[in-house]
Assembly symmetry: C2
Homo-oligomer: 118 residues x 2
Amino acid sequence: MTLPHPNMDQISLPIVLGVLGDPTRLAIVRYLASKEGVPLNCSRFLDLGSKTNLSYHLAKLREAGVTRAEVVGTNRMITLRRADLDARFPGLLDSVIAAAVDDPALPAVGGHDLEVPA
Amino acid sequence: MTLPHPNMDQISLPIVLGVLGDPTRLAIVRYLASKEGVPLNCSRFLDLGSKTNLSYHLAKLREAGVTRAEVVGTNRMITLRRADLDARFPGLLDSVIAAAVDDPALPAVGGHDLEVPA
DNA sequence: CCAATTGTTCAATAACTTTTGAACTAAGGA
DNA sequence: TCCTTAGTTCAAAAGTTATTGAACAATTGG
């Protein structure tokens, strides 16, 4: 019931960079960073692709050690592994996120903010 | 006689990350960083692969905007585009290089330091 | 001019990555 | 229990990337 994650010292620089070298995954990371602290479930990202495709990209991010996925009922709550990444590769995540925030070519998540109903 | 390079505003974050997401190319960048200021020709990197394969990887780095290649006689002198990368993605190159320096899994360049003969 | 040096290009192949749809599992609510 | 919601797995197809060797081009030095 818990999903496999690398532990901190198993996180590899080339693998992390390779995984981040994809617009869909960079958009996921950017969105996670913009909602840091809030755990988000997978369907939050459906703007970026089909359910199956997101399952694939989210697995890549998790297996690389970029995100953590917690199983909560039928949901998987996704968070950035910021502390681990900062410890392993100081400054890397911050600079990637800062650059991603400014990148108009990346696809966007959101629009249909279902919260705050009335 | 001059090779094609993207100009600074054409350098793309996902492409740069993708290109750096390869151990051979990361090793090239790490070595360039360790010799910053010194322009190096391609054969400096032959420890990392065949001539043909290096030509491929060096072209990837150049086309992504990570390196600059100047034609000098029959040599191509390779340098990191540090100023451009720092301006476009502040902190990114520094954090990647710092992490690469500490990565024992990356292949190494050097050993046969031909300089300083006697 | 000839030969050596430096690096590129080309075509082939091998190996990986991305995307898709259909089928599936697992939990939760009516 | 049955239905819905959330997400995974699998296999196939499509696309991309990495690696190789042989052939090529350009410059330099003898």
